[in-house]
């Protein structure tokens, strides 16, 4: 069962940060579907996409990268209390 007390940190970078006007915020998972016992990255994307058309578009671009606790993950990665989940476009350093 999803616990109503789960809270995670969301971070946005680069064009995503710019398009959505936020760089970091806390997200409470109380309202994620209680039917699933675990909350994964896909569920968070779905939840955040409800914030508006810009969020939906930004979070569903095909080359979106998600990093959970500083490691790139697939959308099926499970999110837990205190985790840090970041969304950003492909990296262009070096």
């Amino acid at each position: 069962m999803a616990s109503g007390s789960v809270s995670i940190t969301i971070k946005l970078f680069s064009a995503l940060r710019e398009a959505l006007g936020e760089s970091e915020f806390q997200l409470n998972l109380a309202d994620v579907s209680e039917a699933s016992s675990q909350v994964d990255v896909a569920a968070i994307k779905k939840l955040l996409s409800q914030r508006g058309a810009d969020w939906k578009e930004a979070l569903n671009q095909p080359n979106l990268v998600h990093a959970l606790n500083h490691k790139v993950v697939f959308v099926d990665a499970v999110v837990s209390e205190g985790d840090e989940l970041a969304f950003f476009p492909p990296m262009t350093g070096g």
Binding site: S14, H70, P89, M91, G93, G94
Partner: protein
Amino acid sequence: MSVALQREAIDVAAEYAQLIGDSPGAAVATFTGYVRDHSDQHAVTELELEHYPEMALKVLEDLGRSAGERFGLSSWRIAHRYGRLAVGETIVWVGAVANHRGEAISACELIMDTLKTDAPFWKREQGSAGERWVASRDKDAQRRARWQSEETP
């Protein structure tokens, strides 16, 4: 055996001296990246490098450590800038020390190829085309992929 994330320019001579220390290995390879004055077809006057500090540090430390193990490096260093950079300034410096030249050179190349696609930095250019985020290049992903299949040279 360390990573630096820094706003200030990279002092290449100081980095080199620190890398080799008192007793250099037999083979030292280095790579330095600089801000170019052009990108695709248009002029670039300035670059802003955004980064994700905690993740950048973790990714680069993991990368240096794994290159060190794969190529038997006796020492390695990765320094990467963030913030505003003028044309001609350093962006990144990589140094690798090994017993043989092939190992040192390959380690440098592996680190640069992986860093380009895996380390959380994003370039924003200012220039004749206005401001824009730099798009990732397919070629970088291809160069990155080589290291997953290729035998150690």
